[in-house]
């Protein structure tokens, strides 16, 4: 696996993967959106607001999982002094930030008609909001420190500190009685969603994940190119 962490090998492999990924994400997104919009019935309690969940659920899952990916990449970067790991974490941060924003906004827009409020200081919602600020802090730290090695290490440490909020965002509903409902998609709890909603939801989840992977690979390739350009510039200046 480590051979793919070599920048040249990474660029070669991901260059071949990107087009199929974009195509698959685009097709699944179109199918999922069409299905969610035109073929799903209204929920007997939620009415048409149930359609919001086809974007809210995948976005929330990605918001948390992207943070987990960043944390693992940062830990590998810190332990193994491996710069591609840091670059992957850096590349993932704006994507995670965007999906967290989507989860917060669509959750608020769903909450207003269903809960009667845009926001409550519920454990899960609050943990996601704090995670959003950790994403912002992480991106800001990378942007403010000029020396890449130092920026990588400090932002990696910040990322690891914030892991607790990603964990709480995922599991808060198990620890506390929160307004936010528990997991609707759970192998242990069995089927809790009717097939009419579950199938398009799964399609949207796969589409969002493929879109995420494609974006992450493009952003990681960008970071590798920028690092290479910086190294060439420094070599030229030293010569």
């Amino acid at each position: 696996m480590w051979k793919y962490a070599n920048p040249a090998e990474f660029m070669r492999l991901t260059g071949r993967l990107l087009t199929p990924l974009w195509v698959a994400a685009g097709v699944l997104l179109a199918v999922g959106l069409g299905w969610a919009m035109f073929l799903t019935p209204d929920d007997y309690k939620q009415g048409s607001t149930v359609k919001i969940l086809f974007i809210h659920v995948p976005a929330a899952m990605l918001a948390i999982n992207t943070y987990a990916i960043m944390a693992v990449a940062s830990a590998v970067g810190i332990i193994r002094r491996h710069h591609v790991s840091f670059l992957v974490a850096k590349a993932a941060a704006p994507i995670g930030l965007a999906f967290t924003a989507i989860a917060l906004i669509t959750g608020a827009v769903w909450g207003q008609p269903m809960w009667g409020t845009w926001w409550v200081w519920d454990a899960r919602l609050t943990a996601v909001l704090i995670m959003f600020f950790f994403y912002l802090g992480y991106i800001a730290l990378w942007a403010t420190i000029e020396e890449p090695e130092k920026a990588a290490e400090l932002s990696g440490v910040l990322c690891l500190v914030g892991v607790i909020f990603a964990f709480l965002a995922r599991y808060a509903v198990m620890f506390w009685a929160t307004l936010h409902q528990g997991a609707s998609l759970s192998v242990a709890a069995g089927q809790r969603i009717d097939d009419a909603f579950r199938t398009p939801l799964y399609i949207m989840m796969v589409a969002f994940y493929l879109f995420f992977i494609a974006l992450l690979l493009v952003r990681a390739r960008t970071e590798i190119r920028l690092r290479r350009a910086r190294s060439l510039r420094l070599q030229a200046m030293a010569a």
Binding site: T106, V109, T222, A236
Partner: protein
């Protein structure tokens, strides 16, 4: 689109609209930054080859 006649239509449209805006911005900035980095690296490699 039957939901457009529904009392919750504005909420559904707001959710999908904001998602489209955020994902559109993310895609645009990602591709633009990649194109910039590709140009910058090509220029540096060209200079190095001289």
């Amino acid at each position: 689109m039957s939901f457009l006649a529904d009392k919750y239509a504005i909420y559904v449209l707001a959710a999908y609209g904001s998602t489209a805006l955020i994902l559109g911005w993310l895609l645009w900035t990602t591709l633009a930054a990649n194109a910039r980095a590709r140009r910058e690296l090509a220029e540096m490699e060209k200079e190095r080859g001289r």
